[in-house]
C-alpha cells in the first residue's frame, strides 16, 4: 500500500504536527485560527507558541499535565508487525495527544480512568480503544482498504482518495501479484475500470497485452503514457517490472492526466515501485512454479476429410481426376497404413501437453530514521509450449530504491534499476495449421517429413530451432538520484527534483540455417532427402541498438493550511533529451553452420547499415489543489509543453485541466445518514495532447536507400522523397469531460464509483491518403484533420464483509464495467462516397465489408440475383446495397464491428477463512469482433469445421460456402472477398486469475526462524466462455495491407493457461 510509503517517509516535526492537527481538527480547527509567524525558530519554540495560542498539549511540552492521572505506554504496529512511526494517539474528546516515535512507541500521561484512545494514521483505519485499567495498550492498525484514507498516485504526487477530484483508478500490489504472469500488462486485466488489456499471444517474452484506456479516441497512436516513478517509459520496459516490486498502479483517465500535457490524451498509467521503511532488514522471498498449456488450439480436419476435399477440388476446380480412391480413404479411416495414408495431427505433434515457467523474487527492505532502502531482484523464466521448441524467455530485474535524510529538511534518494530480457524464437513460426494430414511430421521410422513447398518446411522441427533462430537481448539500466528540501523559513515550501539517466542496449541476432527433411517415394519405397531452408547456406544478421536519454525534473511546492482552507501547489519544469543509434551487419553464405558469428560468413554481398535519431522535450507545469473543510474540492493542472517534433511556431502547447469535487457526506444536511461514510460528486474538464507521430514532418526530407538502383545491374543509391512538408503540423488535442460519483456506505459494506465521460479528440493526425489523388505524387504527411468523439462510462462496485472481532470468515467483492464508444466525426475521406461507406459516422477501424446474405445453392439463384462477377453456385451471396444489379466495391458497407471491445469488464472476490484465502478474478469483453480467414488448398489442411461443413456440389444446407484458396482477403475470390460472413463475435468471459493462499501458523514459522510464510496455488486463464468458434478470442490478427483489413488465421502462438504453485516467506 502506498500508505507505507507515506509512513516510512521521514516526516519532519512540522508535518507530524500537521497530521496531529488534522486528527483533532474536527472539533477544534473550525473555531480557532492558529497564527504562526516565526522565523529562525526551533520546533520547541514553535510548539510553545502553538500552546500559547491553543489548548493543544504537545508531547514535548506537557510535563506538567503528566504529573496527574495515569500513564499509558504502548507500541503501534501494522499487520506485518512493522512498527508504525508518526501515528497520532489522542485521548478522545480532548486535545491531549502524542505521536509515536520512530519505533512506533508512545507514552501518554495524565489519562483519566474512563478514557478512550483514538489511533489514526494516513492510510490506516482509525481505531478507538477504551483504556480501562490498562497501562499498556499495544495496537495493530489495520490498513484502510475501502480507500477513503487510502492514498493514490496522481501525476507528480499522491492524494487521499477522499479528496481526489479526477477520474483515477488504482490497484495495489496485492492484486497485481496474484496473477502468475511474467508481463505486468497481463496482470492488470479486469482490475482497473476503464482499462482494457488484450493479450494477443502467449509467446514467451512477447506475451504482453495491448492496453487501451477508455477505448480508442484516435486513428493515430492509442498507447497510453506509462510513467514509472515519475519517468515516462517509451520502450515498454514497464512490462517487465516484477509484480512484487510494485506498490501501486493507477490510471489517470480524465483531466487529471492533463498534468502530462502533450502525451496524456490516451490516458496515463502511473506505476509506483516499493520503497524502504523504518524497520529491521526484512527479507521477502517468493517462488512461483507455473505449468502452462495453450488456452485453445484450432481443430484441423482429419486425413479422410481432407482427402475428400482434395478430390472435390481437383474435380470441380482443376478438371482433374480424384487423387484418392474410396479404398484409400477407407485405409485412412482404418489407420492401417501410417506410412502412405496417415492421419497426421500436426498441432497435436507440435504442442506439448504441459510446459513450465517460473518466477522468483527476493527483496530486502528496511531502514532507520536516517536511511531507508528497498532492494530487490527477480528472475522469470518461460519455456516453450512446443515440443522441443526453442521459444524461451528469461527476464532479470534488479531495483534498489534508497532514501537518505541528510538533515531533517534535506533528503536524498537514489534509485538504481537494471534489467535484462533474453528471449529467443525460431525463424519459422508456423504452428501447423497448414500441414497436410496426409504427411506426418515424422515418418514411422522417425525421419522428419517435408511439407510440400519450396523451403521444405516442417513446423515440428522448425519450431525446435532447425532453420535458425532470432534472439533478442535487451539490457536496461537507469539511475535516478533525487532530492527534496523543505525550506524551514517558509512553512510548506519545498523544492524537489530528480535526474534520470537511462540506457537501453539491444542485441538482436537473426541466424538462418538449412535443415534436412525427407519425402517418401512410395513407388520405390525410398526416403528422398531434401534440403530445407529459406536460404541455401546459412546467413546471419546482427543488429545493435542503443537508446539513451536523460530527464531533469525540478519542482517547487507550497502547501498551506489555514483554518478551513487547505492548499497544495507546485510548479515544476522538466527537460528530456534522448538519442537512438542502430548498427546492422549482415553476411551470408556461411561455409559451415558450426560458428554463428559474422566473420564466418562470405565477404561477398555483405551489408552494413546504421542510423541515428535524436529527440528533446521541455515543459513547465504545475498544480493547485484547494479544499474548504475537506468538503469543497478544487484542482487545476496546467502544463506548457514543448516538443521537438513540430515546427518552431507550433512547438509549444498549453494543456489545462480543472476538476471540482463536492463531498456531500460532509454536509450537515446529510448527517442523518449515519451509514454514509462518503459521498462525493466530481466533475472535470481538461485538454490534453497526443504527439506520438513521426517527427519532422514539417521539413522536406529525402530518404536514402543504399541499395536500390537497378542501373547497370548495380547497386547505386536511390533517394526517395519523404513526406510533403506540413508546416502547420501540431498535436492532437483531446478535450475531456468527466462527471463522477464516489460513495462509500456501511464502513465498506458498499462502495461504488460511477464515471461518465466524453472525449472529443480533434486535430487528429492522419494522412489524407484516401482523399488526395495519387497523381499528386505527394507522400502525405500527417495532418491535423480528424475529429473523433468517444463517450462512455465506468461503474465499479465493491462490497466487503463487516470486520467483526472473533470472526473467522471475511470476504470482499468488487466488479467493474467499462463502456467506451467512439465515433468518427470528421476524417479525411472522399466526399463523393455513399453514406453507408463513410468512415465518418462510424467507429474507428470499422471495415468496409460485403454484406453476406447467404450461399447460392442453385444456378437459377445465381442467374436471377445480382452477383459479384465470377460467382458460381456455392459462393456467398452479397447484398446489392445500391441496387444497381451487380455486386461490386460500391456494395461494401462500413461495419461498426471492431477488434477493440466497446465493453470490458472484470469482477473479483476475495474470501478469507482463518488462514486460508481465495482470490478469483474474472474478466471479459463485449462488442468486439474478429475477422477470421482460413484458406484450404490441395496440400494444405484447413479447419475441420470449415472442411466438413464446406459447400459441396448439390449441397442445399452447407454451413460454409466454397472455401477460399488464398490467404488474405480481397484478392478476387468471390467467397473470400471481405464480407460479414467471416466476422465472428469475439465477446468472452474469462476466469483470469484464481489464487488460494494459506498462511502458515506462527508456531511453525517461528520454529523455522521466519516471520511469515504463505503457500499458494494460482491459475491464469483457467477457462473461457466465448462465441468464437476456432481460436482464442483474444487472437492474433494478421494485418493485410492489400485488403485493408486485419484477419486471423489461427496461425499464432496460443495464449497460455497457467497453473502455478508458489511460496512466500518473510524473515
Amino acid at each position: 500500500m502506498l500508505s507505507k510509503l507515506i509512513r516510512i517517509m521521514k516526516l519532519t516535526g512540522f508535518l507530524i504536527f500537521v497530521a496531529l492537527v488534522q486528527a483533532t481538527a474536527s472539533v477544534y480547527s473550525q473555531t480557532t485560527l492558529l497564527s504562526l509567524n516565526m522565523k529562525n525558530s526551533s520546533l520547541k519554540e514553535v510548539f510553545r507558541e502553538i500552546e500559547k495560542q491553543s489548548e493543544f498539549q504537545l508531547s514535548s511540552a506537557v510535563e506538567a499535565a503528566q504529573q496527574q492521572g495515569r500513564k499509558i505506554t504502548g507500541k503501534v504496529t501494522d499487520q506485518t508487525g512493522a512498527s508504525l512511526p508518526g501515528v497520532s494517539v489522542v485521548v478522545k474528546g480532548t486535545t491531549t495527544g502524542v505521536i509515536t516515535d520512530g519505533d512506533g512507541n508512545y507514552s501518554l500521561s495524565g489519562i483519566p480512568a474512563n478514557a478512550t484512545l483514538q489511533f489514526s494514521f494516513v492510510g490506516m483505519k482509525m481505531q478507538e480503544i477504551a483504556v480501562g485499567n490498562k497501562t499498556t495498550v499495544n495496537l495493530v492498525l489495520a490498513e484502510e482498504t475501502i480507500g477513503l484514507e487510502e492514498v493514490v498516485a496522481i501525476g507528480y504526487g499522491t492524494q487521499r482518495k477522499a479528496t481526489v477530484t479526477g477520474s483515477v483508478a488504482s490497484t495495489d500490489d496485492e492484486m497485481v501479484k496474484r496473477s502468475p504472469t511474467a508481463s505486468l500488462s497481463n496482470s492488470l486485466s479486469g482490475l482497473l475500470p476503464g482499462l482494457t488489456a488484450i493479450n494477443r499471444s502467449g509467446e514467451p517474452g512477447q506475451n504482453i497485452s495491448e492496453i487501451y484506456i477508455r477505448g480508442q479516441s484516435t486513428t493515430g497512436d492509442t498507447n497510453p503514457l506509462v510513467v514509472v516513478d515519475g519517468i515516462p517509459d517509451e520502450t515498454g520496459a514497464w512490462q517487465r517490472i516484477n509484480q512484487n516490486e510494485i506498490e501501486q498502479v493507477s490510471i489517470l483517465k480524465d483531466a487529471s492526466a492533463a498534468i502530462y500535457g502533450a502525451r496524456a490524451a490516451n490516458g496515463v498509467i502511473l506505476i509506483t515501485t516499493k520503497r524502504g521503511g523504518i524497520s529491521k532488514p526484512t527479507f521477502n522471498y517468493t517462488y512461483n512454479q507455473g505449468f502452462t498449456q495453450p488456452t485453445r488450439l484450432p481443430e484441423m480436419a482429419n486425413s479422410w476429410e481432407f482427402a475428400d476435399y482434395v478430390n472435390q477440388y481437383r474435380e470441380t476446380m482443376q478438371n482433374l481426376p480424384p487423387m484418392y480412391s474410396k479404398e484409400q480413404i477407407q485405409i485412412m479411416k482404418d489407420g492401417t497404413d501410417q506410412l502412405n495414408y496417415p492421419n497426421a495431427d500436426w498441432i497435436g505433434t507440435i504442442f506439448k501437453d504441459v510446459s513450465t515457467q517460473s518466477m522468483q523474487n527476493l527483496n530486502i527492505r528496511g531502514g532507520t530514521e536516517k536511511a531507508r532502502y528497498s532492494m530487490s531482484g527477480s528472475y522469470a523464466h518461460e519455456n516453450s509450449m512446443v515440443r522441443n521448441g526453442i521459444h524461451e524467455y528469461s527476464g532479470y530485474t534488479m531495483r534498489s530504491n534508497i532514501d537518505v535524510d541528510i538533515t531533517k529538511n534535506i533528503k536524498f534518494g537514489l534509485d538504481i534499476n537494471g534489467g535484462m530480457d533474453d528471449r529467443i524464437r525460431p525463424v519459422l513460426g508456423n504452428f501447423g495449421t497448414e500441414g497436410s494430414p496426409l504427411i506426418p511430421a515424422f515418418f514411422p521410422n522417425g525421419l522428419p517429413a517435408s511439407l510440400p513447398g519450396d523451403i521444405g518446411e516442417n513446423p515440428a522441427i522448425n519450431l525446435a530451432g532447425q532453420g535458425g533462430y532470432i534472439s533478442d537481448k535487451i539490457y536496461r539500466t537507469s539511475l535516478k538520484p533525487s532530492f527534496s528540501i523543505n525550506i524551514p523559513q517558509v512553512k510548506g515550501l519545498g523544492v524537489e527534483g530528480y535526474f534520470s539517466f537511462r540506457n537501453e542496449f539491444t542485441e538482436n541476432k537473426n541466424w538462418r540455417d538449412t535443415w534436412t527433411v525427407y519425402n517418401y517415394d512410395s513407388a520405390n519405397d525410398k526416403y528422398v532427402k531434401k534440403k530445407g531452408g529459406e536460404v541455401s547456406k546459412p546467413d546471419l544478421e546482427e543488429i545493435f541498438n542503443k537508446r539513451k536519454d536523460y530527464l531533469v525534473h525540478l519542482r517547487i511546492k507550497y502547501d498551506k493550511k489555514f483554518g478551513n482552507h487547505e492548499l497544495t501547489s507546485f510548479v515544476a519544469a522538466e527537460q528530456a533529451e534522448g538519442e537512438y543509434r542502430s548498427i546492422t551487419a549482415y553476411r551470408k553464405d556461411f561455409l559451415s553452420p558450426a560458428i554463428e558469428e559474422l566473420f564466418a560468413g562470405s565477404g561477398e554481398n555483405m551489408v552494413a547499415d546504421g542510423t541515428r535519431r535524436e529527440w528533446g522535450r521541455q515543459n513547465i507545469f504545475g498544480r493547485v489543489t484547494y479544499n474548504y473543510k475537506g468538503k469543497y474540492l478544487f484542482e487545476t493542472n496546467l502544463r506548457y509543453d514543448g516538443s521537438y517534433a513540430f515546427p518552431k511556431n507550433k512547438r509549444w502547447g498549453f494543456f489545462p485541466g480543472f476538476s471540482i469535487g463536492w463531498r456531500l457526506s460532509e454536509e450537515s444536511f446529510l448527517d442523518g445518514l449515519t451509514h454514509l461514510d462518503n459521498l462525493k460528486l466530481r466533475a472535470s474538464y481538461g485538454q490534453m495532447g497526443n504527439d506520438q507521430i513521426s517527427p519532422f514532418q514539417y521539413l522536406p526530407m529525402y530518404n536514402l536507400s543504399p541499395i536500390g538502383s537497378h542501373l547497370g545491374g548495380g547497386t547505386q543509391a536511390i533517394l526517395k522523397t519523404g513526406v510533403a512538408p506540413n508546416e502547420k503540423i501540431t498535436w492532437e488535442v483531446a478535450e475531456n469531460s468527466n462527471i463522477g460519483l464516489d460513495a462509500a456506505l456501511w464502513e465498506g459494506g458498499l462502495g461504488f464509483t460511477i464515471d461518465v465521460f466524453k472525449q472529443k479528440r480533434s486535430n487528429i493526425l492522419t494522412a489524407r491518403s484516401t482523399e488526395v489523388p495519387y497523381y499528386t505524387g505527394l507522400v502525405l504527411p500527417d495532418e491535423n484533420v480528424g475529429i473523433i468523439e468517444n463517450k462512455g462510462f465506468e461503474v465499479s462496485l465493491s462490497h466487503r464483509s463487516k470486520a467483526s472481532a472473533g470472526s473467522d470468515f471475511s470476504y470482499s467483492f468488487s466488479g467493474n464495467v467499462s463502456y467506451a464508444k467512439n465515433k468518427i466525426i470528421n476524417i479525411s475521406e472522399p466526399q463523393d462516397m455513399p453514406d453507408y461507406q463513410k468512415a465518418e459516422g462510424s467507429m474507428i477501424g470499422a471495415q468496409l465489408l460485403y454484406d453476406a446474405i447467404g450461399i447460392f445453392r442453385t444456378q437459377a439463384q445465381v442467374d436471377s440475383n445480382p452477383v459479384f462477377p465470377g460467382t458460381v453456385v456455392g459462393d456467398l451471396q452479397y447484398r446489392d446495397v445500391n441496387k444497381d444489379g451487380i455486386i461490386n466495391a460500391a456494395d461494401r458497407v462500413r461495419q461498426n464491428k471492431g477488434n477493440i471491445p466497446e465493453i470490458s469488464f472484470g469482477f473479483n472476490t476475495t474470501l478469507t477463512y482463518k488462514r486460508i484465502s481465495l482470490f478469483a478474478n474474472f474478466t471479459g469483453q463485449e462488442l468486439a469482433w474478429t475477422y477470421i480467414h482460413k484458406h484450404a488448398r490441395t496440400t494444405q489442411n484447413s479447419l475441420r469445421d470449415l472442411l466438413i461443413n464446406r459447400y459441396v456440389p448439390g449441397s442445399m444446407d452447407s454451413k460454409y460456402p466454397i472455401i477460399p484458396q488464398e490467404d488474405g482477403v480481397g484478392e478476387g475470390e468471390v467467397s473470400g472477398m471481405p464480407s460479414t460472413f467471416w466476422l465472428q463475435n469475439a465477446a468472452f468471459l474469462r476466469f483470469k486469475t484464481l489464487q488460494i493462499q494459506y498462511t502458515m501458523p506462527e508456531n511453525i514459522i517461528s520454529r523455522l526462524g521466519l516471520s511469515s510464510m504463505m503457500l499458494f496455488v494460482n491459475g491464469n486463464n483457467l477457462f473461457t466462455l466465448t462465441g468464437m468458434k476456432w481460436y482464442d478470442p483474444e487472437g492474433t490478427p494478421v494485418s493485410d495491407s492489400a485488403a485493408g483489413i486485419g484477419y486471423s488465421t489461427g496461425n499464432f502462438y496460443p495464449q497460455t493457461k497457467i497453473y502455478n504453485i508458489g511460496m512466500n516467506i518473510t524473515f
Binding site: 520547541k44 514535548s60 505521536i99 500521561s109 482443376q318 482433374l320 481426376p321 487423387m323 510440400p452 519450396d454 528540501i485 527534483g497 519425402n519 529459406e534 536460404v535 541455401s536 525540478l554 519544469a573 527537460q575 533529451e577 554481398n605 541515428r612 528533446g616 522535450r617 521541455q618 514543448g642 521537438y644 517527427p695 519532422f696 526530407m701 529525402y702 530518404n703 541499395i707 536500390g708 538502383s709 537497378h710 542501373l711 547497370g712 545491374g713 543509391a717 536511390i718 533517394l719 526517395k720 510533403a724 484516401t770 489523388p773 495519387y774 497523381y775 499528386t776 505524387g777 505527394l778 463523393d832 465470377g870 461490386n888 466495391a889 460500391a890 488448398r937 490441395t938 494444405q940 475470390e973
Partner: protein, 561 residues
C-alpha cells in the same frame, strides 16, 4: 516518553537551494536547442538539390518506379499482361485475372490493369517524381551538362509513362508540375490526342540532349535511341484503329518515319541467339536491346524470375502457364500453322516447330536441366500429381522457358535460385516489326515483307520467308508479332489497338492434357477446354478505379463501366 524534535538548520540550506535553483534555471533556459533537433537519418531539400550525386540518386529512384514485367509485388503483378491476354494463364486460385479475361473488369476491380490508384504499381509514381525533379532543376546549380542530360532523361521517362497510361485508359489528366499540400487537387482528364502531342514534343526535346549510349554501369538509362523508340511505338499506337478511327494516313507516316529513324541510327541490330537474348547473358550485352530494366538478384530486392517460372518439380512457383492457343500459333518449320500443315501430328505435337517455340515454351518431354519435363499424369513430377509443390503445377501442361536461366536452381530465394535477366522494354526486333506494320498501312507491302523476314531470318530462327500480300500479309504480320514478341507486354495492347479484341480475346482458352499409360508408357495428347474468355466492346479501355472518381469528381469514367 519525551520526544524532543528539533530542527537544525543553518544558512547553508539556503545556499544549497539557491545553487540548485540557479543551476536548474540555467540548465533549462540555456538549453533552447533541446527542441532544435533536425533529422539525422534523412537529407534535407537543400542538401539534395545542390549535390550532383544526390540529384542523380533521386533520378535513379524515378527509373526504379517504372512498372516492368518482372515486378516483385504480389504474385499477380508478375508478367500480368501475358496472363491478361491469350498467351498465358496464371493459377486458377488467382481468380483476379479471371475477372479480367472474362470481361468483368470494373471500377471496383481491374486487377493489374489498375495502373492508376497506386501506390505500388502506377505510372503516376514516375510521372509525379519526374515532375518534382524537373521543377527542382529550375533552380539547381549542378553542372549544366549533367543537368541537361538528367532533365532529358526524366522528360523521356515521363513521356513513356504517359504513353503507357493512355494505352490503358485513353486520356488522363496531364500533370506536369508538382503539387503541394494546399493545392486544389482536382484535375480533369485531357484527351488522348492532347497527351500524345505532349509525349511527342517532350520526346523530341529530350532526344536533343540524350547520348547515344552510356557505359555499362549506366545501362538502363534512357538513351537517344530509347527516346526515339518510345516515340516510334507511341506513334504506331496513335495511328492504330483504336486511336485513329479516321485512319489518317499522316499518322501512319509519322509512325513509319519514327521507326525508320531508329533503324537509321545504325546503333542496333538483331542478336543471333533468340533464346539467350532474354536471359541475363543477353539483355544489354547485346546490340538488340534499346531500353530495358536491368536487375541485380544479389541485392535481393529484385524479382526472382526462375523461382517464379520454374515448374513445381524444381520447386518453382510456375506462376504463368502458356495456353494451348499460343502453342497452336507456333508455326512448324515449314512456316505453316500446325492446323494447316499436313505433316503435323497431333499425337506428336512438339516436333519440327519454329525454333522460337523451343526457346519460349517448356512442354511435356522438353529437355530441361538434368531431365525432361513431366507434365503428364498420372505421376509426372511437374504435374499436379508431383511430389513437390503439387499446387504449383501448370494447369495447361506448359511452362515458360523464355527469360529463364536453366543453370539456376529455382528452388530458393536469392541468387542461387534466380538470375537477373533484364526486362526489355524496347528492342530492335520490335522496331523492325513496327516499321513493317506502318509500311503495310502505308501500302508498301514489299518493305513490310522485307522487315518481317529480317525477323524470321535471325540466325538460329531461320524460318521460311513470308511471301503473302494483302490481308494474308497482314495476318502474317500479326502472327509474327504474337510469336516474336510473346510475353513482352505487346499482345495485350496490340490486339486492343487493332480493335480485334472482341473476337480474339473472346476465344475459349485451351490446355493440353497429356496422359501417360503407366503400363506402356505411351502418351496421349488431348486438347481440352480450359477457361472461357470474353472481351466486351467497352473493354478496349480500362475502367478507372472507383476510388479515383470518389476522390475527384472531375474524372469521368470510361464508357461502359
Amino acid at each position: 516518553m519525551k520526544k524532543n524534535i528539533s530542527i537544525t538548520y543553518n544558512h547553508k540550506n539556503w545556499s544549497v537551494l539557491y545553487l540548485i535553483l540557479s543551476l536548474s534555471i540555467l540548465l533549462i533556459t540555456s538549453c533552447e536547442n533541446v527542441l532544435e533537433k533536425t533529422p539525422i537519418d534523412s537529407f534535407s531539400d537543400g542538401a539534395v538539390w545542390g549535390d550532383e550525386a544526390l540529384t542523380e540518386a533521386f533520378a535513379n529512384t524515378v527509373y526504379k518506379s517504372i512498372p516492368f514485367g518482372f515486378q516483385q509485388l504480389h504474385g499477380w503483378r508478375f508478367m500480368p499482361y501475358a496472363n491478361m491476354s491469350d498467351e498465358c494463364n496464371s493459377r486458377n486460385s488467382g481468380t483476379n485475372i479471371q475477372i479480367i479475361i472474362q470481361g468483368n473488369a470494373s471500377p471496383s476491380y481491374s486487377g493489374p490493369m489498375d495502373v492508376w490508384s497506386g501506390p505500388l504499381w502506377s505510372y503516376w509514381e514516375p510521372i509525379s517524381q519526374a515532375n518534382k525533379f524537373l521543377d527542382k532543376m529550375k533552380l539547381s546549380t549542378i553542372d549544366q551538362g549533367l543537368k541537361d542530360r538528367l532533365t532529358a532523361e526524366m522528360r523521356a521517362v515521363r513521356a513513356y509513362s504517359y504513353f503507357k497510361f493512355i494505352s490503358h485508359y485513353g486520356g488522363v489528366p496531364l500533370i506536369t508540375k508538382p503539387f503541394s499540400l494546399d493545392d486544389d487537387f482536382k484535375v480533369a482528364r485531357n484527351s488522348y490526342d492532347e497527351i500524345m502531342n505532349f509525349i511527342i514534343l517532350e520526346l523530341d526535346e529530350s532526344i536533343k540532349f540524350l547520348p547515344l549510349d552510356y557505359d555499362a554501369a549506366n545501362d538502363g538509362r534512357v538513351t537517344k535511341g530509347a527516346a526515339m523508340a518510345i516515340k516510334a511505338r507511341a506513334l504506331l499506337y496513335a495511328a492504330s484503329p483504336l486511336n485513329n478511327p479516321e485512319n489518317t494516313r499522316a499518322k501512319w507516316q509519322a509512325a513509319a518515319d519514327a521507326s525508320k529513324a531508329v533503324i537509321d541510327l545504325n546503333q542496333y541490330k538483331l542478336y543471333d541467339n533468340y533464346k539467350v537474348l532474354f536471359t541475363q547473358a543477353g539483355g544489354y550485352n547485346t546490340q538488340e536491346v534499346i531500353w530495358g530494366r536491368p536487375q541485380n538478384m544479389n541485392v535481393e530486392v529484385e524479382s526472382r524470375v526462375e523461382r517464379l517460372l520454374f515448374p513445381n518439380g524444381w520447386l518453382g512457383f510456375a506462376h504463368s502457364h502458356p495456353l494451348q492457343n499460343l502453342i497452336d500459333d507456333f508455326e512448324t518449320t515449314k512456316g505453316l500453322l500446325p492446323k494447316v500443315d499436313p505433316g503435323y501430328e497431333p499425337q506428336n505435337p512438339y516436333v519440327n516447330r519454329d525454333p522460337r517455340f523451343y526457346a519460349t515454351i517448356l512442354y511435356d518431354g522438353a529437355p530441361f536441366k538434368n531431365r525432361t519435363i513431366e507434365s503428364f499424369t498420372p505421376g509426372g513430377l511437374d504435374s499436379p500429381d508431383g511430389i513437390e509443390s503439387a499446387w504449383n503445377a501448370s494447369e495447361t501442361s506448359y511452362y515458360i522457358r523464355k527469360f529463364v536461366d536453366e543453370s539456376k536452381c529455382g528452388c530458393t530465394d536469392g541468387p542461387d535460385g534466380s538470375s537477373s535477366p533484364t526486362w526489355i522494354w524496347f528492342r530492335y526486333g520490335e522496331v523492325l516489326l513496327n516499321y513493317a506494320e506502318a509500311m503495310y498501312k502505308l501500302g508498301d507491302e514489299a518493305t513490310c515483307r522485307e522487315y518481317i523476314n529480317k525477323i524470321r531470318s535471325r540466325p538460329g530462327v531461320n524460318m521460311p520467308p513470308v511471301t503473302e500480300s494483302g490481308a494474308a500479309l497482314w495476318n502474317r504480320l500479326v502472327q509474327e508479332r504474337r510469336i516474336e514478341l510473346v510475353f513482352e507486354e505487346h499482345r495485350f495492347f496490340d490486339v486492343r489497338r487493332w480493335k480485334t479484341a472482341t473476337e480474339v480475346f473472346s476465344q475459349n482458352r485451351m490446355r493440353m492434357k497429356v496422359n501417360k499409360d503407366p503400363g506402356t508408357g505411351k502418351k496421349t495428347y488431348t486438347v481440352q477446354f480450359f477457361q472461357p474468355a470474353k472481351f466486351n466492346d467497352w473493354n478496349y479501355l480500362a475502367p478507372i478505379p472507383q476510388e479515383v472518381i470518389d476522390q475527384n469528381s472531375l474524372i469521368t469514367q470510361n464508357p461502359g463501366y
